[in-house]
Symmetry: C2
Amino acid sequence: MGGTEEAPNGSMAPIGGEIMGPTNPMVTPLLTDLYQYTMAYAYWKTGKHLDRAVFDLYFRKNPFGGEYTVFAGLEECIHFVANFKLTDDEISFLRSAMPTCEEGFFEYLKGVTCSDVEVYAIPEGSVVFPKVPLIRVEGPVAVVQLLETPFVNLVNYASLVTTNAARHRYVSGQNKVLLEFGLRRAQGPDGGISASKYCYIGGFDATSNVLAGKLFGIPLRGTHSHAFVSSYMSADEIPDKTLKSRDGSRNCDDFFSLAQSWLKKVQSVSSLNGLFGETNQSELAAFTSYALAFPNNFLALVDTYDVMRSGLPNFCAVALALNSLGYKASGIRLDSGDLAYLSIEARKIFNLIEKEFRVAGFGKMVITASNDLNEETIDALNKQGHEVDAFGIGTYLVTCYSQAALGCVFKLVEIKDQPRIKLSEDVTKVSIPCKKRIFRLYGKEGYPLVDLMTGEDESMPKEGERILCRHPFIESKRAYVVAQRVEELLKCYWPGRSNEPREELPSLNKIRSRCIKQLEQMRQDHMRRLNPTPYKVSVSAKLYDFIHYLWLNEAPVGELQ
Amino acid sequence: MGGTEEAPNGSMAPIGGEIMGPTNPMVTPLLTDLYQYTMAYAYWKTGKHLDRAVFDLYFRKNPFGGEYTVFAGLEECIHFVANFKLTDDEISFLRSAMPTCEEGFFEYLKGVTCSDVEVYAIPEGSVVFPKVPLIRVEGPVAVVQLLETPFVNLVNYASLVTTNAARHRYVSGQNKVLLEFGLRRAQGPDGGISASKYCYIGGFDATSNVLAGKLFGIPLRGTHSHAFVSSYMSADEIPDKTLKSRDGSRNCDDFFSLAQSWLKKVQSVSSLNGLFGETNQSELAAFTSYALAFPNNFLALVDTYDVMRSGLPNFCAVALALNSLGYKASGIRLDSGDLAYLSIEARKIFNLIEKEFRVAGFGKMVITASNDLNEETIDALNKQGHEVDAFGIGTYLVTCYSQAALGCVFKLVEIKDQPRIKLSEDVTKVSIPCKKRIFRLYGKEGYPLVDLMTGEDESMPKEGERILCRHPFIESKRAYVVAQRVEELLKCYWPGRSNEPREELPSLNKIRSRCIKQLEQMRQDHMRRLNPTPYKVSVSAKLYDFIHYLWLNEAPVGELQ
């Protein structure tokens, strides 16, 4: 009943010691479905609320037609658990929402914390598979039920968008820079903030989202928009056009004129074959303004008017002008049109300019592309050939457009030491009962071969021994596995009252490294986009027998009439 | 610059007087793309930051294959604008994120508020159409750019999910109860919280999300889950089975036995034809426990074991036992199987029981259905025929699964009184220049006929006069319209330094009523699911001529070689 433990909210120290609250302060014990509280009341009313129950959080099917998922969201769950405590204000609201409930229940709720809840989980950033518990929660049934909705909410989207990011990384290749630009199209403010965090874990390099940069230390990227370019009508709008050379030794009084003179030189390059005619001078003014503000970091969006006829020559002129003052321009961004063709043409021009004006490195100018990109369009670009160095990806990435939800569930698997099974006409929806341990068995070549679930009381499978791994539901599917290495997946992240040591929550960069490493060590046939091979998830012989014993016991025998 | 106005954050009163901040405290001036700040710096550096600019927020295509959209998210935008002010901590972060920028810029940012920004918008909850500005923002270009990302973020998902809710209401019909159950599958915590708010605006009746109930006063609904049922093994787990009759006159010592005795009566009803055999007694125990907790509000999930053979007879037994003590059960929830068939069978049984045991109203028991429902499945249920009274809808509703993003954009249309146009190879992406007014013209029958955009300086179209309405881009598409009524759509929600009176922000229930009324008054052919008729969006003759004059002026003449 726990009325005596330290209050984690307000002025008192959190139970978890150093563990802070969830990123979004709206993640509170009220961020749950009403039925969690009505059930808690029914449990309390019949004195069942303290019965110890075990729930598994898992999903049933990998997203995006793939055969893997990256698990994310754990840190937020632990932050939530560590600070779980209803405020007086929240209790008052519940009292008004459940007016027929006895006052004793609200007194009980006041004292509820997660001090007697145990949370075991697979480390965040791991590659995971259907049916395997990502999180196992044990504690008083009423309290654990209250955690269901926030846990599932915090894990579902986090894992979905991390997996989506990992898939975008996979199709882009390791040597491309991936930028997450999704905030404006995300599903609400923290749809955007979470997306930035989890895309970084999934292998992205940076985000445009300033708040995510502040909250999580994710590198930030961004230059200017079309509106910036079209807001300039002429260079007269720039009263001060002076720019000091990079080393401070010279002063250019009129950087716009310098850029114009470089534009003339570019236009007259014979190897460009008279490609460049008159350019839009208001665009040149906008580029000049941006270069004056960021001479060390000049990256221009070149498609406001016309990439080939205006944006590119204007960019080259400003970049060469910067170069003549000792600066090095960064590159261009393409946000429309045929990105394969335009990037190839831009690269050709950069190389010609490098040669013509002997500007070392000009050919290596970064080309960023950013127009409604997704796995399919990047794959198509790769097939066509392109010269894009960096992809800026928004809508399709952060909203997980091709599959906007992952179906994580939270199922009772044991109560008062009695295993529970949830049956369904649909076999894929039958739950795997019992408090379980999970092992990942690795083969000779270092790849994971199979995940194996066992009962809590079974001994750990041994390296080098033949281990019988059975499909949980299909009798004929089974295999002996000799594991080179056995890794226990579930670790204790919140020990409750047990004496288990608590796993430290790793930094964001460590989670990201784990994710990248885990993805690399998977056998490639599980990872490919088309017809990937399913990874095997199995149960021990003992657990198999027990599942089917329970199943027969619980299932009513049908009658056909 | 602006260092003298009242600071809206911290201990001082917000500029907007009584206007509170956004629902999610993470919606701050840093919730934006980095490039808004780099552009602001470039503007500031060239002294252009105070140039007055007008931006339109609009979308280009209705979602979900429909021909209408409901505009939502405005209140959050106004709350944001009213409290826009960077804290010292935020300024410090920006300083570290943009290390090459001059200190004077950060001094300028410190004083930035939206006191000289004007926000005009269509009222929240209105039915709106592509290309028409939902929000028009005017102010110093650097400040208005900073609003772009949060505004688009706050409007995109809000409008998308409100529209999705409205479409679910449309297909369900006015007399069904619609419950939003999406929190666990939403895209992050406030994906869930926003969904609850905006689904309510779009015509839903209640949510399961407790926090949304607290924040917005939305009615809450919820009973129990499968886990609750499977957590009970027998009635022995209920030590106290007493229940007082509703009027307090009698005491039932063992409500479980009372339910068992009613179960026997139900099983022996001849008109049920021996339909009910042995039921799962642990399910009966769970129902009993729930009924003891909520005797006035007993609604049971009946598909944990088997709807027809266990859930329904157990429910009827408990409901009849409650009835015998003067209570009235609420109904059942079906969460799997053939919802059309099961609901029809359940209704038949409820009617038979009403007749057999003369329990008035038993046949009207509420049947709620809730398994992966969406527009299509509800439409299919309607075509088959069903007896469902209430739909609980989650994943497909809140994630907008069939189209997870609305593409709202924020485009510069005027700066320093100069109209700006954004060209594109794709005509649907060309922006409509100029600071504009928007009128909705209504026909004789009360339906809206067309939305008309005019320049700011044009006179308002008059009722009863012939008004030439032109397609903005296609010369041949034009029509004379005689409007019975003319409604100006853009209203002033944030007057900035102007003397315009500020529109009050209506309550959530008023927004919801507006939405429902607006949807009702649309001509039905725009609303139907299959092949709806597009609603016409037009420009005045004068604006048409001006768009095409600008277009010709700005577009480079192509050269084919």
